[in-house]
Symmetry: C2
Subunit: 228 residues, 2 copies
DNA sequence: TCTCGGGTACTCGATTTAGAGTGCCTCAAA
DNA sequence: TTTGAGGCACTCTAAATCGAGTACCCGAGA
């Protein structure tokens, strides 16, 4: 229960905004966008209010007053409680000290790579490399500009790290492209062969009858009796 | 609608399993675990059946027969449709060719680093580095073992890439630790100063009055009239 | 003067997700 | 012989998520 409530980092972001001064949710969102934190924390208005409610239920923030400027929708100003202050330290410490298992889409995609014909895969990987390089160039541009504005590096570390990840990915994609083209990647011959023969599209090209399957695949698949 | 249905890669994984031969959802899950795909694709039983239903509604798979071995719960065997075969190619192509914006927890954490006192942050970062190194060693071990089993590299690329990411992260954390310790990271002095003075915990240490805020923060925050 | 695009500040509902729970089975040890 | 651990194959429900929608306001241009 307390564990699942730490799932959405947007909640932490809101807490930290409120740590600066009391404000209403929409203003916190505005501030986060202002400071470009919406590039590191998924921010959408649907979740924002859900997350704020949950923070209030948990006693980490409390409503201070509600006002309505003109006849615009009413807005509730929240303030951080002591429990909230403690939660910031705790949650943030956990996030920094303990790596969490993540599931990037590209890792998933790579694990099914053999399902595409090798030449298609190659073309698509090259496309990705180009897109990534464009993104990287954009990020570099942004960084230089921001630096000129005088923002110290401390307040930009997240983007620095994001760039590091992007560079690593670019390198890897390039290497992969080369290894496939040159046939250096072991498995390509069977891969190509299987698609040439109009073979089934699998994550385990049939020539090998997936090495990890051992005898186990049959276990839950072969007692096909007693059809209802 | 079609867009949102591509959100969970588990659906793609199921499609690909069914591409091998018809089977019931639980068996697909077993096969995925067998082949260690659950390390690249988030797999839990709650989502599994939801995802299968959605695939059926979209006409990508269809029920072939339902059987019940003994008096165990009934199981439904699904098979891939032609639409499903096409969807595999399409979806996978998209995943490979177009990088998608992701929000790793550590990026979020870094963007709030100034909210922790610098010495705490340092200690936590060192902790993370150690954990990451342990994980990397484990991954290397697994890879060597798997290699000895004779699994070709093609069927292991996703882990290779995951390791590349991990290495990049380790490097970065090390650099960050050094830059903070040595004071080379610009902003540390103010950072330390602000926490020494028992200052507020913010993502924008107060001495700078967040450079990116310009005049804008006041916009939605200062018309505090007409309290209801 | 009118209006039209863009910003403000939320609300709503349809999906999705996570993970605990269920009831059945098998096998092995006491 | 009983008992209990562990696997099978789902089902259920509470919570989270996302994006579209709403209702208002303001300022610039025709």
């Amino acid at each position: 229960m307390a564990r699942s409530s730490r799932s959405n980092p947007l909640a932490l972001a809101v807490l930290i905004c409120l740590g600066e001064r009391p404000m209403h949710p929409y203003e916190a969102a505005t501030m986060l966008r202002q400071r470009h934190k919406h590039e590191s924390v998924r921010l959408n208005y649907g979740s924002l209010y859900a997350v704020v409610d949950s923070l209030e239920r948990r006693g980490l923030i409390e409503a201070q007053e509600t006002e309505r400027p003109g006849r615009l929708p009413e807005r509730t100003i929240y303030r951080l409680t002591d429990k909230g202050t403690a939660e910031i330290q705790d949650w943030l410490s956990e996030l920094i000290s303990a790596p969490t298992k993540e599931y990037p889409a590209f890792v998933a995609a790579l694990s099914f790579l053999p399902a595409l014909p090798p030449d298609t895969a190659l073309a698509l990987l090259k496309e990705r490399a180009v897109s990534l390089e464009v993104e990287l160039a954009a990020a570099r541009g942004a960084r230089e500009y921001i630096q000129k504005l005088g923002l110290p590096r401390l307040l930009w570390v997240e983007n620095e790290f994001a760039m590091v990840l992007k560079e690593a990915e670019i390198d890897y994609v390039h290497r992969l492209v080369e290894d496939i083209t040159s046939g250096r990647l072991e498995g390509v011959e069977q891969w190509r062969q299987m698609h040439d023969e109009g073979g089934a599209n699998l994550m385990a090209p049939s020539p090998w009858q997936h090495p990890l399957d051992e005898e186990v695949v049959g276990k839950s698949g072969t007692d096909v009796k007693e059809i209802s």
